[in-house]
């Protein structure tokens, strides 16, 4: 991956910018022009075609977003949402890891869980949301359990895949040196599978927060989803869009700067292996 960048660097004595830097500049420029153009088209549409009430211009939504952040409502509503998301992922790891371990090591359990894991991803989010409401009522448990159920299959299938790719020679060597089964599990299998469990969480991240927010729309009394519902019932399009855009930006930043880095850190032994 990185080698191509170093090989192609300044082939014509181009001393100003390396390929990577040029690519980054292009990315930033593209972002500014592309998103700027999108906002411009949006503004023109709302001013000239649709009308400000139906399609509020971006500036108005920006002001709304700023008001939400400044008043402290942002922090008040995001903290419960993020905490629930965290508990949900904890639940997914707690259930998904053993299931994935069983699937990766035993033929019987692989067949047992196969359908559940393969099917869970295609279940519509609205069923999680409203079922949680029926079973639990308006409760903080609803979003947690929804997130746990949505992410669990990704954790399980990734752990099973991770165990599938465990270095066979390590297991054979442990056998040859007379290590018992539990030592192999503790020192070879579980450490190899753990990063895969985390990769499962990251993969399901986008799906999980959408389902969480949907569950909050239907059955919660706090959190970002609940605020979106409140704004919808007030027929406030700017308020609704402000909340959801803040949420998306926050989640994308969380994914890029926390989860991806954490994953790279957990998988660093693999990168060294490849290099």
């Amino acid at each position: 991956m990185t080698s191509s960048a170093t090989v192609e660097r300044s082939p014509r004595g181009d001393a100003h910018l390396s390929l990577g830097a040029r690519r980054r500049v292009r990315g930033v420029l593209g972002f500014v022009v592309g998103v700027g153009g999108f906002l411009l088209v949006w503004t023109l549409l709302s001013e000239l075609v649709v009308g400000e009430f139906q399609l509020p211009p971006p500036l108005k939504i920006g002001r709304e977003m700023w008001a939400i952040v400044r008043s402290g409502a942002f922090a008040d509503q995001f903290v419960p949402t993020i905490v629930r998301l965290g508990y949900g992922f904890g639940l997914a790891l707690l259930i998904g890891f053993p299931i994935g371990y069983l699937m990766g090591t035993s033929r019987y359990w692989r067949a047992f869980f196969h359908d559940m894991v393969m099917v869970a991803g295609s279940i519509p989010g609205i069923t999680y949301a409203v079922m949680a409401l029926v079973v639990l009522g308006i409760s903080v448990l609803g979003p947690v359990i929804s997130v746990g159920l949505v992410s669990m299959p990704y954790v399980a299938i990734n752990v099973a895949e991770g165990l599938d790719s465990v270095d066979r020679r390590l297991v054979q060597m442990s056998d040859a040196f007379g290590r018992n089964r539990s030592a192999v599990v503790r020192h070879v299998l579980v450490p190899s599978a753990a990063p895969f469990a985390f990769a499962g969480v990251r993969l399901s991240f986008a799906l999980a927060w959408k389902v969480e927010q949907l569950t909050e729309v239907f059955g919660s009394s706090s959190g970002v989803g609940f605020q979106i519902r409140v704004e919808f019932e007030d027929f406030s399009i700017p308020g609704m869009l402000a909340w959801v855009l803040l949420f998306i930006v926050f989640m994308i930043l969380l994914e890029r700067f926390v989860l991806v880095r954490l994953e790279r850190y957990l998988f660093r032994w693999r990168l060294e292996e490849q290099a």
């Binding site: 990315g27 420029l29 593209g30 972002f31 022009v33 592309g34 998103v35 153009g37 999108f38 990766g104 090591t105 033929r107 019987y108 692989r110 067949a111 047992f112 196969h114 359908d115 559940m116 894991v117 393969m118 099917v119 991803g121 295609s122 279940i123 519509p124 989010g125 609205i126 069923t127 409203v130 079922m131 029926v134 079973v135 639990l136 299959p153 990704y154 299938i157 990734n158 099973a160 895949e161 165990l163 599938d164 790719s165 297991v171 299998l189 993969l203 986008a206 799906l207 959408k210 927010q213 949907l214 729309v217 979106i228 919808f232 027929f235 399009i237 609704m240 959801v244 998306i248 994308i252």
Partner: protein, 294 residues
Amino acid sequence: MSVAIERPAPTQGALGAIRRVVLSDVGARVASYLFLLLLWQLVSLYEDRFPGPAEAFGFLWIEVTAGSHGGVVRGEFLEHFAATLPRFSLGIAISMVLGMVVGVVIGASKLAEALFKDTLLMLLALPAIIWAFLTQMWFGLGDDAVVITTFLSAFPFVAVNVVQGVQAIPRDLRRMSTAFGVSSLRRFRHLQAPAVTGYVFAGLRFAVIIGWNAVLLAEWFSASEGVGWRSRYWYDANRYRGFVGWVVIFILFIVLLDRLVLVRLQRRAFRWRDAQLSAIEREAEEVELGVTGT
């Protein structure tokens, strides 16, 4: 293949035969369904409002056979499916066309990628519920809101997959076909089409899964007929067995469509790429593709 696959010791006699059946893959699947039914039953015992499997399937029987739910309320299964399926199909068709156009443009042109990629990621991140709310406020109750919600929610997933497909066309082969003067028709037939087809089917699969959720949500909020509306009808009437019965139909519909049609199409179209993957890697690939949205 796997690290430590246990193999049941071959036993003789009738007891051995039973043991073999119970421990076989089919036996394991049957056991898993029984386990799920048991779990459902336990949840329904824990919470009285939540109907057990017997109640939900009893309701479904009446709904599907157009029997009487008591009084004049009759089962209306076909009517609502007939209302939903055209909306759903139209939404998916539009999202496929739009997604392929956007995907090819972004995938083929560096300029278009730099300009539109971030906007596409933003659209990918927008939850379907926002479109359901917005279209209800823009268009009121009716077909428009449902169809538009469906394709706005689904098309970014098609586009992202097509972008991946276009960018996955091997560069060496592209250069070679230029060097050897291969005609653009043959290039399309032997290079571009096979490389992109798998990703188009992956996109279709995710469009259908995402679109189904969007259709249900949109009908929940802005329709007066259709399967989503019908489940809400039972929900609002506090007849939870009706609601849960419909949820069973929602899940069955999408799971059967996905496993019996879409996954097979996708697997066929990806044969050239996935031939050397192990079974579990292939399954992981099926679960993951499209959700990542690079």
